[in-house]
Symmetry: C2
Subunit: 429 residues, 2 copies
Amino acid sequence: MASLKGNCVLAQSGGPTAVINASICGAVQEAMRYPEIFTGIYGADNGILGILNEKLFDLGQEPADNIEGLKSTPAAALGSCRYKLKDLTQSRDDYERIIEVFKAHNIRYFFYAGGNDSMDTCDKICKLARETGYDMIAVGIAKTIDNDLAFTDHCPGFGSVVKYNATAIMEAGKDTEAMYTADTITVQEIMGRNAGWIAAGTGMARRSYEDAPHLIYIPEIPFVVENFVQDVKEVLKRIGYCVISAGEGMKNAEGKYISEMGGSFGKDSFGHAQLGGVADILRGIIESEIKVKCRTQKLGTCQRSAMHFASLTDVNEAYMCGQAAVKAAAEGISGKMVTLVREGDGANYRCTTGLADLSAVANGEKYLPREFMDERGTSITDAMRKYMTPLLQGEAPVRIGDDGLPVYVRLQKHRLAPKTGREYSAGKK
Amino acid sequence: MASLKGNCVLAQSGGPTAVINASICGAVQEAMRYPEIFTGIYGADNGILGILNEKLFDLGQEPADNIEGLKSTPAAALGSCRYKLKDLTQSRDDYERIIEVFKAHNIRYFFYAGGNDSMDTCDKICKLARETGYDMIAVGIAKTIDNDLAFTDHCPGFGSVVKYNATAIMEAGKDTEAMYTADTITVQEIMGRNAGWIAAGTGMARRSYEDAPHLIYIPEIPFVVENFVQDVKEVLKRIGYCVISAGEGMKNAEGKYISEMGGSFGKDSFGHAQLGGVADILRGIIESEIKVKCRTQKLGTCQRSAMHFASLTDVNEAYMCGQAAVKAAAEGISGKMVTLVREGDGANYRCTTGLADLSAVANGEKYLPREFMDERGTSITDAMRKYMTPLLQGEAPVRIGDDGLPVYVRLQKHRLAPKTGREYSAGKK
């Protein structure tokens, strides 16, 4: 066991998931088992921003029910952020501030749940601490619906976003099948900025030719308008309707986002290119080239926060990652991210945790293997089904209130008094 | 008991719901109890189009599991349509064709699940049959997520669309709350063309000031840009983020759809005004007037076909409506629509069925009572909560496959050989 004794702080970063709070729940409940090591268990408001701006709260004062409730509460109960720290060599201010806050509150353990940017942050904090002689431990917890982190078989959050999205497109498929005489085509926009894991995951809904999604488009496979028109026409010829999963990060052969192809579409009101307009672009192509009515839908953040139909396997694994991070830290391990390790397939699927270097994870990205899609690149293969099936097993239980709706937790966030004696205003507009 | 003996046909019309198949299940299972009256139980492909084009199938040949499975299958398993019959005085062709098909197949009972257009169709068929001396019975089954049918306390399909939508916006709310430092405002577009029942229903998710939706906009209350900007600013001032339920049919004081206010937004690619762009219009206002980042999301048909989180009360009541329609017909009642009658409130809520004249239903519309919204018109009142709560109770069971996803039914549709000896091509493009 590590001899290092002090407070620990937990933080969440990047886009929320249905299960990132389950990781926090696992970490907090595990940390409570070692009062001789973790003297206080703190949370940071909105990720690294909460540390920079010294907005901390005491998770030890939360009612046990609230901590337990995190297991079935979506999004990021501590608060999240998209604040990106500059490189250490470029600007040390932020990093030095972090160490300053850690020192002031005797924070010796830092747990960060997030994607590769967060692992990069975590890694740099580690390095600066070592450099400046501040004794501390930092461990990352894999999180991202996009499933694009390297060194882990899959990411907590991924199973749930696919379970929900595949179900939603299955239901949209039933709807389009019923209404094809009026609304013939449906294009559904699926999250996934650089990797097609989620869009491909919706392919799980297709058990027969008639089932949606009939066509899937992902960022890794260049989108060719002519092929698209031909593929849609083929589906219409065979069954009379068509449902399309369009990955928001779809690109053409030049690597340009399809969402930037349109006129006013694809730009936000400030004129910035914005992902998320891809369904409307495809609708434009369909209505001009095929001349049938097309609906578009964009489930947005509802995709990643759909706790009401989350994967129980995913929840359990996310919890396990939080636990494992604390266990590793208690053993004195630092500079690592907890990974998920698949052992066995199908009915023999079992998952344990492993550890990967933060710096390696920070610089890696994992794309959908080409063999997970068929030759045409629009349907999934058995290899994808085999990979995906265990991750969708079970439905996470959710408490339902007297009003018939889910009951989720909001933390009380008992504030810690600031101790650094100076203001800092990172990320303030 | 009616002495009229013959075949019956069931048909579905208009936008699907999570529970319209449960009504068909109730009707079929009930009809099977009277083999001495209903000699054959048929389905029509895509509503009235299936009758006009003589595309009929034998529901009596479906495996019992398929019929039972309709109880938990969303959309419209028989197929639906948006085909609107002209007025009897203008064009009798379609109506005469319907009677021709009925005669050819000895169809003496017609059950039509739909909204007011469908009840109008049903009524006119009744009248023409009587006029031409063809002995038959027609009974309508209330269906619409919009909940805008008159003479019924609520419509099958409404409870489920609200249960799911309220949950989705609750989850989007948790997401926005977590991410407010990056994405501060979320506008979610909610179905409901002329009535604000569903958008108002999402208000059920708001148990405290911090909970989404913070602002609700419905067609019945004129939208005023200045008030909107002021309301959003007020919410931001108090909690720093804001989630908005935007009814797709929102109108301004002149009764013009807000979705038609935009430039390229609000029109489809043929230049037709199209509902469904309202969220982008609101985003435009927010980003130009308040200058904070705003997300939009549009769940589209996923709203109305979300069987995976449907209201059990709704499923049971939809089933009961199907049963009641067949019972009424077996008693010789014709020209009526089955309604839902509320008896008791809160824990004493009980629901039975009643009957209303088809012609009365066809010409009525039911808007959200003004007292169901607060004075400002942006939040629901206790009166709405009291009305809504019983309709959201229970979660409909769904069968989950080995792949971790719901298993829904697709009917085999054993075709009936055409008997009229002539082609008809209603609704063909």
